[in-house]
Amino acid sequence: MSKIIASAAIRGAHKIVDSAESKWREAMDKWGAKQGVGFPNTTYYLPIIYGILGVPVRTLGDMEAVLKRCREMLPPPVREELHLPYLGPALDAGMATFWAEEMAEAIRYLEDPKFYAQGEDPEGDRIWLGAADDVIMRKRGIEFVDGTAPGFAAILGAPPDPAIAVKIAQELQQKNLYVFMGGSNNGDRTSKQLVDAGVQIGWPTRLVSFGPDTSAAVFAIGFATRAAMSFGGCKPGDFRKILIYNKDRIFAFVLALGYVSDEWYANAAGAINWGFPVIADSAIPEVLPTGICTYEHVVSSIPYDEMVAKAIEVRGLKVTIAEVPVPVAYGPAFEGERVRKEDLYLECGGSASDAVELCVSKRMEEVEDGHVELIGKDIDEMEEGSKLPLAVVVEVAGRKMQEDFEPILERQIHHLVNYAQGVMHIGQRDIAWYRISKGAKEKGFLLKHIGAILHAKLHHDYGNILDKVQVKLYTEEPAVKEVLQRARALYSVRDERVEGMTDEQTDVYYSCTLCQSFAPTHVCVISPERTGLCGSYNMLDCRAAYEINPTGPNQPIPKGDTIDGKLGQWKGVNDFVTKTSRGAIPLYNFYSVMQDPMTTCGCCECIAAVLPLCNGVMTVNREFADMTPCGMKFTTLAGTIGGGISTPGFVGHSKYYITQRKFISGDGGLARIVWMPKSLKEEIRERFGKRAEEIGIPDLLDRVADESVGTTEEEILPFLEEKGHPALTMDPLF
């Protein structure tokens, strides 16, 4: 911290705390101490205050003690001469700044509930998104965990020219980073500049317009703080762990664009507590010695075209990006980008036409690497707003290629194509749906480029199992029909093969410790009949990942002697889990929610919980934000049982697992399910029906309660009794 920075940060903190305090007094006069406050749909209260102090702020009255702490922590101004050490005090001032701003933002939610848009996208003119609710935080947080997003850039202010804003945003997107935006510079705001330039902002494109004021910084820092608590297993109040977790694992930094005011310095000092350095475009003093951050703390006077590269270097981040030879920008940040009807140039699939995707392995001599062929018309031969049928056939060859890997590679098509800016992809197999925007067409994007993308990315991501990739694209009706027929035959063969795999017949399971970068004691073990709790990995995926990277997070585990076949416990698995959890978890059962269930990281798609009164089990998916009959919302459940611990009575799992044969089979299986959110029921209805038939209760799903029946055990029990739910007559769970 240089003296100028420390002095300014401390001055800024005083101003911010003063202002928050006067806002608080006004609010107290208006609403009184008992008035509830908080950010929407979160169990982390005001997350920075909750994480650092362990204090849940529920009411206006609760803020008093926090404001008092802010006051106590605010250091005196730095003397011009003969000053006392100021680094520690300035960092404290930065912390007080965040607490004050968080309270001020919470009061804004109270005063003007419509100020921020709800959900992931701006709503018309309401472009400010405010605090990420827990559904967004979990969904997006997982991308930090699995590495699809290595970190975030918090932009304060705005560059002088909107074109620079667009360029910086796109560059950050291409580096897979989230962009969190707040504050203004000379009346300009980066979020606004992007909207005006026609860039799609919102969580899906990773361009998050948190708020118009500097205080929006707390939404970024609050997100990071919650990540430490929900994925890192850090406890609220364990400030040291939370901050170091962020320094080591959340690769975030601040881009200060414009005049750096005292208030900005105060926020910057706050961010440094988290190990997030500041990169400024203006000529402010630099703080180069390392220590609180991994490398430099403040670097300044960086030209706009070097800013992103400099920030990444200063933060100590390595981003590896495969070069993809297409005329549009390319990266995960564009995955969530929509192509609306009015932007549409060409459409394939959906209700408009047939579209199908197929990946098959071939002999080496049958594949010419890099060969991309389009049979039929391409975009440039089509009118705006037209439709085409499409078949994408990917043929791969490689010494390590196996038939089992075909569907894995095929499933990659969805996100790989989606990564291209201006290209939207939905679905897979024979329900694929492509939309190409006018913007992409203008830049010269052709259907042929889909082949180029797949060739480049499959080589990059799966180079260990394949040596050659060629892609054939068909846009003529008869050819597409022919592929469709061939594909459907193959799909059913594959389905039978996967369905036929059982845990009993399989001797080697696979681990997944991908999440250990975030949940250091969590170990997933994946068997054919129990897919990973995040929903992203089945056992074949893990096996392929192991083939690709033999020292990576997916390792084969000979399951060894069976300790308990019913509950699903094996010696080899226990040994592996003990070692890999560093002694924290000595054993667990695959198929039980009651006895030593598998550990849960923060990433699970669903959480099952025992309902004692109903003698059954409920499960709730991440997207369901309301109360459930176990007395907790999803996010509370995840907060309670996540972070790599095993909690009897609760277990995290994937949506797919519900309809696998081994679903809590140790406790009675699918027939135990007494409650699920309606939306989840609809999502898995087809597969659920099949399983229900297999166990001889074809109408089981109709006997399962949902939120329309009730959200307490007492409310749903009469329904279960009326429907004669099988769980009521099963062996007692306790």
């Binding site: 003296k3 680094l87 404290d92 220590g291």
Partner: protein, 649 residues
């Protein structure tokens, strides 16, 4: 030839010397001159007067007697003398610690109502270190149990001192392997006295091992106990500004100078001097206020905790009196010159001895009673005020005084490097690793009239900081550098190398950090251990790029301190003179062999402060090389896989 003028620290002293001489008072430099030539055998450490068969002396030139009457050879004689110095120093620090412990206990029990537990957090931490139940208990109950446990360590007969387990694990194992872990504080001092008496231990290596065990009972025992309990009782130091040098004395106020080493009384003097009644009383006598200033380590204690100004270091004690404005000089223990009473007689100053342990003929003795501490202090302050009208017309306060920032405890360093939430030594270690800071040096110790006042300290410290070595200081050495303006933050850009200056600017600190009194050298041990535990700089103190020095040492305490630093793994250079030069065996053991036996630390002797600084820098560089941080390293960029490999938690 009289060297007083040239050795007494600058132009400001000259009128004071003149006025002393005019009044017929001798000063330390006069007496030093009169002692010349000093005994060559004594200087080299080759004489022995332990028994009455002697005195004996060994001819250092191999011509005359090579054995004492009892048969002791030069190595034995030399090692015995050295060990007794260690015992003397250890006894001084530890007896100070015992007094603090007793007052701590009295305060906890409510028997000394003027004292209270000030730092409850540190109390709790220390209690936990001692395995004391803290939850749900009253502060004073915890303090009583802690005080009782600590008090036992002085007389403990077996086992290990508690603070030994604060050292890096590797260091503890080295000590255990060599059998030098102290069993009890008093026991090691007594055993050293026994083993060095006539006809007991006559193997210099064995004697020096016991000297080591005794010194560890000081650094990781008595001294550390003193620091910790004083912090709990009087508050852990936090950075504060103050002024230093004789110019801090005030013409218009009652000047009370506190001198010695214990803060127990001076803390109360500070309280009494702020008492309304006392201030009124002073006004009644024509003074505008009461000015407290310190000399020596009592000064450092109340500077660190209250920002009380410092009048000077050890060799300035008589000069303070010669200003003619000191109404009372209150002395407790250690480094107090008997001649003070002679000098004071020539002026109006009352020298007040307050410790039952330290009496000086010709002084006023007002014994300090801790049970009625404030009353005792007020009585002393009143005596001083009463003396204000007795000033003769001729007074002279030198113009020299300097700003300084002090108050760097281990806790403060950790806080100032990261604030409340990221407090740690990480930034220090990181900047050592990246080379901005080359290393850390502890420059401590006394003044010695054999060299011009403060000159060795200043030369060495300036050389070190210019070479990017961060300097930690205690005792009279810190006062020396403070007077020269090295303890202000602005000194970084003026004197420090580019890298160090950059770190100082980042943290807002001077390049030289004042960590307290000489008993607080324990803070340096704790800081060094914290650096090891923070990681990246090896797994023992001996791996760190650090060095120690006492360039103007004179007291036995300095030898005890040096020995515990060396035994803890620190390369330590002393200046001025060295007490074992007559013995090749003892000297070789201390300068070389110890480095092998103790895996790291050795002594060195170099009277030229520039050369001594170079030895320290060379040592620091060699440690940097062993750590592999001597060359610039590429920045590491982390991808997801590397993040997964991070240790859990």
């Amino acid at each position: 030839m009289n060297h007083t003028s040239e050795k007494s620290g600058g132009l400001g002293s000259l009128p004071l010397i003149a006025s002393a001489h005019e009044a017929g008072a001798d000063l330390v430099w006069d007496r030093f001159d009169r002692q010349q030539p000093q005994c060559g055998f004594g200087s080299l450490g080759s004489c022995c007067r332990i028994c009455s068969m002697g005195p004996c002396r060994i001819d250092p030139f191999d011509k005359g007697a090579q054995r004492g009457v009892c048969g002791a050879d030069i190595d034995t004689i030399s090692a015995r003398t050295f060990a007794r110095m260690v015992a003397g120093g250890t006894a001084a620090h530890s007896d100070h610690g015992r007094d603090v412990t007793q007052i701590f206990l009295a305060a906890a029990r409510g028997e000394s109502p003027d004292y209270a537990i000030k730092d409850v957090m540190k109390l709790t931490k220390l209690a936990l270190d001692y395995g004391i139940q803290v939850e749900g208990r009253k502060v004073n109950d915890i303090a009583v149990e802690l005080g009782e446990k600590i008090a036992l360590e002085f007389g403990q007969q077996e086992g290990e001192l508690r603070f030994i387990n604060r050292a890096p694990l590797k260091r503890q194992e080295i000590w255990r392997g060599l059998g030098v872990v102290p069993r009890g504080i008093d026991r090691e001092v007594v055993e050293t006295m026994h083993r060095t008496t006539m006809g007991v231990d006559q193997d210099y290596r064995s004697l020096l091992l016991q000297a080591t065990r005794t010194s560890l009972a000081d650094g990781w025992g008595g001294s550390m106990i003193t620091t910790e309990l004083q912090d709990i009782l009087f508050g852990t130091p936090y950075p504060t500004v103050s002024r230093v040098n004789l110019g801090v004395l005030r013409e218009d106020q009652v000047n009370i100078v506190v001198h010695g080493h214990e803060p127990l009384l001076s803390e109360m003097i500070v309280v009494a001097s702020r008492d309304k009644q006392m201030l009124e009383y002073a006004k009644g006598k024509g003074a505008s206020g009461i000015n407290i200033a310190g000399i020596c380590c009592t000064a450092n204690e109340i500077l660190m905790r209250h920002g009380i100004p410092i009048a000077g270091n050890m060799l300035q004690q008589e000069l303070a009196v010669t200003t003619g404005v000191v109404e009372a000089m209150i002395v407790d223990v250690q480094c107090v010159m008997q001649s003070l009473s002679d000098v004071a007689r020539c002026f109006h100053t009352k020298v007040i001895t307050a410790s039952p342990k330290a009496n000086i003929p010709g002084t006023v003795h007002i014994e300090f009673d801790e049970h009625r501490a404030l009353d005792s202090a007020k009585e002393i302050v009143k005596t001083a005020i009463d003396n204000f009208p007795c000033r003769s017309g001729k007074t002279h306060i030198p113009a020299e005084s300097m700003d300084m920032v002090a108050g760097f405890s281990h806790e403060t360093i950790s806080y100032m490097l990261g604030g409340l939430f990221r407090a740690s030594y990480r930034p220090l270690n990181d900047n050592i690793i990246n080379g901005r800071i080359r290393g850390v040096a502890g420059v401590v110790g006394c003044n010695n009239p054999k060299v011009p006042l403060d000159e060795n300290h200043l030369t060495m410290v300036k050389e070190l900081i210019a070479n990017d070595v961060l300097v930690l200081q205690t005792g009279c050495s810190a006062i020396a550098c403070a007077k020269a303006g090295l303890l202000v933050p602005e000194a970084a850009s003026k004197y420090a190398g580019k890298g160090l200056a950059e770190v100082c600017e980042t943290v807002g600190i001077p390049p030289v950090l004042h960590m307290g009194a000489c008993v607080d050298n324990s803070r340096l041990l704790v800081a060094a251990t914290a650096m090891v535990k923070e990681g990246g700089l090896g797994d023992d103190i001996s791996d760190l790029p650090v060095a120690g020095a006492a360039p103007e040492w004179m007291s036995e305490k300095a030898i005890a301190i040096g020995q515990y630093f060396v035994a803890s793994g620190v390369f330590t250079v002393f200046g001025v003179t060295w007490p074992t030069l007559a013995s090749e065996g003892t000297t070789d053991y201390l300068f070389k062999e110890m480095g092998n036996i103790f895996d790291g630390g050795t002594w060195a002797f170099e009277p030229d402060p520039n050369k001594a600084a170079q030895l320290m820098i060379d040592h620091i560089d060699s440690k940097r090389k062993s750590l592999g941080i001597d060359k610039a390293r590429e920045r590491i960029l982390y991808d997801m896989e590397m993040r997964r490999e991070l240790e859990g938690g």
